[in-house]
């Protein structure tokens, strides 16, 4: 019963969103789209609009994407053991480290 009720609620919310969008179907003028597609070549002298966006218009996005990759690698370096850590009684050595600290 609870599953059916929640399914009906989710469906009703979905339909309500679609109805709201159908009622307020306003079309915005494509200002930013036209601005970028018309003038990207003389702005950035790049033949490829995606490269122009990634490396000039949205440079912060690219910079912090690269930072996210570095963060992922740092986490992996921390939590995956090296071959040195795997040799011998690894669990005992870790407990010793804990007691020393």
């Amino acid at each position: 019963m609870r599953v059916t009720m929640s399914a009906i609620l989710i469906l009703a919310a979905f339909l309500a969103v679609i109805l709201l969008q159908a009622q307020h179907g306003e079309t915005l003028p494509p200002t930013l789209y036209e601005n970028i597609t018309v003038s990207f070549e003389q702005d950035t002298s790049s033949k490829n609009a995606i490269a122009a966006i990634l490396l000039n218009y949205r440079m912060y996005d690219t910079m912090f994407e690269a930072l996210i990759l570095l963060t992922a690698i740092i986490g992996m370096q921390q939590f995956l053991p090296r071959k040195v850590d795997m040799e011998g009684d690894s669990k005992g050595s870790i407990e010793e480290d804990v007691h020393e600290n």
Binding site: T44, S46, N48, A51, L54, L67, L70, M76, L80, S90
Partner: protein
């Protein structure tokens, strides 16, 4: 524990990857350098450069590549990715001199590509040698 290493004895695999290796390097840098003319760019070319590490691991699964060195190189390249736009794009130097724009795009593509290549290479090597050891790890 004896592990079967088919690839170390397979002459076909060694010769094929040995032939393909320079072409993979060339293809990766082709995609990186032509990032502002053709589809592609730094991230895609960096993924292809990381496949060099995978190919080397397939032939010789030796843990002689120090992943710390690759990781510190990645950090150096990330610092360059942060600093080059700071001095050349956000100050408006590139917008003032349009002749520099292509060089700026190429430089940024190369920096991003090499950084992503080193990063994915570190990830692949660490996961490969961790899974290949066949042991479990307790924190």
């Amino acid at each position: 524990m004896k592990t079967e290493r088919v690839s170390e004895d397979s002459l076909i695999l060694q010769i094929t990857i040995g032939l393909l290796f320079p072409f993979m390097l060339l293809f990766g840098f082709y995609i990186i350098v032509n990032g502002h003319y053709t589809p592609g760019g730094g991230f895609q070319g960096g993924g292809i450069l990381a496949s060099l590490f995978i190919a080397r691991y397939v032939i010789f699964p030796l843990e002689d590549t120090d992943s710390e060195v690759l990781h510190s190189l990645q950090r150096v390249f990330l610092a360059a990715i942060m600093l080059v736009p700071l001095f050349f794009l956000f100050t408006g130097v590139v917008a003032q001199y349009p002749a520099w724009q292509k060089h700026y795009l190429t430089l940024m593509d190369i920096l991003i590509g090499v950084q992503v290549g080193f990063g994915l290479g570190v990830a692949v090597l660490r996961f490969a040698f961790f899974q290949g050891s066949g042991q479990t790890w307790h924190l």
